[in-house]
Symmetry: D2
Subunit: 348 residues, 4 copies
């Protein structure tokens, strides 16, 4: 931690800061520059935070040098993690495809989308039973009925389920069906929900807030980790910018940056980033090429009847190209597509 | 609703859209331009939405003309609303000051801050017992202990309480103490929470999401209103921009725009916008001058010991100027400061 | 300047940095923390910059402590400046209104707009003869013909002229007509143009880039100042944000921040910020209340025929309210409206 | 063009709009909806623009349906263009690497960087003689001396030159040395400069403004095209977002979107996007994978002594991997690396 003093800070303030820092067991090193004095602090940053130094007169700025997250940081855990979702690995040398419908609508639509996902190379099935929607008048998901449909489709296809939970009080119920719990972009800083999924003991897919910094995203992951759950996969899904031609702007650099700062795997959602079907495949290629640990893609048997985000769902005609992308590109970045566990056992 | 067709859209697609629109009871008017054809739809927009027209081949864009919110819209309720909080009005010709500590820390600190608030002209007391914090290692609030302190301070000062609720399962408890429930910026799209406060029957202070559009903010209010609770006050608290010199950027135009689009009162939080004590008074003046229905300001008896947001809290030395600002400026925009109800009865 | 070393930086790198700093006459103080080592540098920052320390292995980050601008900084010139434009002061206890048409179209329209401006209390006339437009197909201004019209209108009304220059090679010509040269938002970092107006010896109105930070804005002013011209007035005109309901978002905090960091006067353009007539008066009130040194407002006798930005121009019906705002509000912030010099002499 | 009327617009206003549209040879089709009336216009949009309809009372909004750019639009020129730079193609099935130092510093440094560029697979040499810098105290480039160095290095290596021009009055001089003129991000809306390079008859590399929309970028290209120069290559170089971990955010979707909207080739600058050496290769992979027509990369023989942007320059150790990336990935998206023309002739 570095304290920058205002140009006119009196020297007794500086002395009192040195004393304050000593009072919590730290050491303060004063460097008097031409126009400014800076004070470098050595010791326990958490204890320095309690001193509220920023509010002292004469303090112009406080620069935090070390990262504010610990458990998810790569400084503490050098080796990158592999998260297991019902036997399907995400991370390491794998490139894992998660695919399925944005929303669970009917048993038939969900099964058909799951079979499409599998055909494209998916090892995990995505599908929403609880949908957070900007408008209260939009379709909000089937709730537990949707979870049961997902569960039936898992039985039939062998694909483990990734599904979103939107309220802390639903976590237990959703966790009783799901193999992986998804936290959506609007809930990235819903701290009660983060703590609840941290307690639930299931792997978590944590989407980046649509205007969050990478540091805030990692702090959100830290909330989950702090409850003893380190089975967290980060998901970049596009950030809000001025650009109107796309729904969001996929931040591919965030994948590389987050992988350097954290040991957690990072996957990309090309469907919600671009918001348009024709962008999904180019963005999928970019995501794999930049080094993502996986992709999560919307597919739908009949996008024109989808109750949610139809315009961005891939459909039958796109599957062959998706299958090609997820098999051909990963080897160029030292990865291989994670096969479906189901392919061995279930024989669908 | 206007459908814009792609330049190469075949005319049988246009015919089938006309038929689809008719199938849900609407009418479609086709205008063939030089480079594009557009189709104007007349009828029930909610039913048109179910047609998923955006996903049809040949459709380039769909422009929604009418506002997507109804209950909070000024198109439906022309006259601007006045929300009553335990007898204290917000809206109309009033300019209401809400003040208090960012977080409830001790009975003494809360009482002293409440007395400071009252001296500055506040009619309502703010104070957080549940604090959503970016870091899991930061002070998270006293919980119910904090609510009891607020309740005691209300008894002593006569100031009704505005306090934040962060989880749907806490709403009943918080509502049993509070006079007004606050939804924080990170929870603006926590839809389960919005519905829960909609059901609770207490007035709601709804902060704008830090990177939300005004339309998304009004849609969030619509979630509350849809549960039968129209006692909603909107709160502009600064939006995220590139500027690093301030914590957020206070969007004063949003006050004027929201007041034109919605009948709900709009107040401003100058403390969280700027994030620095020296900006609070200039921004308070700007907020009143632009026409805000109220201000919500952090005050603290000893900001250098505050457990939360000390650098932005006004302290004793600033109170006289705050009191001057909130009495002198409102008459210039046709308003008067809402007096404290307590001033009549409690005589503190 | 503070150098933050990477956690794994070898200690001989640290030694070599200490030597490098000494080689340019500086001193380096090393503070070894628990997880990181920091090095505080004392001496001439410009010389440190030539060392390219950021590119050295083991350097994680470099934090610049002092401000990168000098001549426009308030650290060096404590007292706030008053800029004189042909006898009309901007800054100090003054609140100066600049008004006129967005673009000069005809002699009649310009004269009528100037008379409107004067009636509203303007001491300076704005009007564009060179218009930078997003589309090459839009009206680009009358060029020198427009400058002659402005000059004639100045003779008739006595109002000094503020007009934009868009290309370095035009500066001499424009300066031969104008009393103050305006740099538009798109040219804030057109460094050749900044240097040319710095050389021209006329006061400069420097608009903030529409997505610039305050620091970049002050660095742009430094380019002008470095050529020996300190008669610079900063103009906040709204920044680009996600909000679609307004053309730009007026950043009122930037006024207060820029006035603390720089001694230059800061005026506000409420017309281009909001982009809508109904927002101009509320934003003008906010700007004066926050403490702006002036306003620059679009007025037009017939906005529905304006060749540029008609929707945001005030018209006859709005003048009385504008006149009221610019006289009634300034005293509340310790200022008075700058009278038109012409009112004494020309008697229009 | 579609006009949306306010809910309370009187019907004689609607009639007068119909008449106005007819007066310039257009047709207006009125659709009266439940809450709003819309008017679809058929005819010449440029003429409708002169009517200033947005300023009429009762008009709530005007939606432009057709694209505002013509010459660079893919609606008019369906086939994608190939731009030739002194015999080196950009576009079509090619993936062209442009590399070199950010700034020309010395003959030796420039030659060594050019040889590095060639070894990595570059067909064109980049290098700046005129550097637009945020600070007036930073290195501003060698000017014509730098152009001569570039010219000598071209003679020695056979690599054609891409170099930036920052002022309209320098265009003739720079064009007398350069094979391709670069417009930097800060000058994307320097319209005088755009027109000057449009007149110069050399191919142009047009960087996207750091907070421009894709539409504004294409409008800037239209300024150049309108002068008869269609040899324009668009360059995505990262946009400004909240994220602080990277210098800018590379917008890979912009590549795909711009290629759909315009026939011009689109290249990517991974060096200025990320601003960090370790991000250049991952972002280069992402750019090729998304389908970019080329890359422009900073290389420097000794980044730790670079006068400009050293931290992002690739150096000797990175060349083999860059060479691998630019040869191995393009075939996966149906492209091949453009060979250096010099490889045939010059034999360096």
């Amino acid at each position: 931690m570095v304290i920058v003093m205002a140009p006119d800070a009196p020297s007794d303030t500086i002395d009192s800061i040195v004393d304050l820092v000593a009072s919590v067991g730290g050491e303060a090193y004063v460097t008097r520059g031409v126009s400014r004095t800076i004070i470098g602090l050595v010791g326990d940053v958490e204890r320095f935070e309690t001193l509220n130094l920023r509010a002292l007169p004469g303090v112009a700025d406080i620069l935090r040098i070390s990262t504010p997250y610990k458990l998810v940081s790569r400084e503490n855990t050098t080796e990158r993690s592999v998260v297991q979702v019902a036997g399907v690995p995400i991370g390491g040398d794998h490139m894992t495809l998660i695919a399925g419908p944005c929303a669970v609508e009917t048993p038939e639509q969900t099964l058909e989308a799951a079979l499409m996902a599998k055909r494209a190379g998916a090892a995990l099935l995505r599908g929403g039973a609880y949908k957070p929607r900007t408008s209260p008048y939009a379709f909000q998901g089937l709730g537990e009925t949707g979870l049961k449909i997902l569960s039936d489709v898992r039985a039939e296809t062998g694909l483990p389920i990734v599904t979103e939970v939107v309220d802390a009080s639903d976590v237990e119920l959703v966790a009783s069906y799901a193999d992986m719990l998804q936290i959506g972009t609007r809930n990235m800083q819903n701290f009660a929900l983060l703590q609840a999924v941290g307690d639930a003991g299931k792997p978590v897919l944590l989407k980046r807030g649509m205007s969050s910094t990478i540091e805030e995203w990692l702090m959100a992951a830290e909330y989950i980790a702090q409850r003893g759950n380190l089975n967290i996969v980060l998901c970049e899904r596009g950030i809000r910018t001025f650009e109107k031609a796309t729904r969001n702007t996929l931040d591919v650099s965030a994948v590389a940056v987050a992988q350097r700062l954290s040991h957690l795997p990072v996957v990309v959602d090309p469907s919600h980033s671009g918001g348009k079907r024709e962008l999904v495949l180019p963005l999928s290629r970019a995501a794999i090429a930049v080094g993502a640990d996986g992709l999560i893609v919307d597919v739908h048997p009949a996008p024109e009847t989808a109750l949610c985000d139809g315009p961005q769902a891939l459909t039958h005609a796109d599957l062959a190209e998706l299958a090609h992308v997820v098999t051909a590109l990963p080897p160029l970045v030292g990865r291989t597509l994670t096969p479906s566990v189901a392919q061995v056992g279930a024989g669908v």
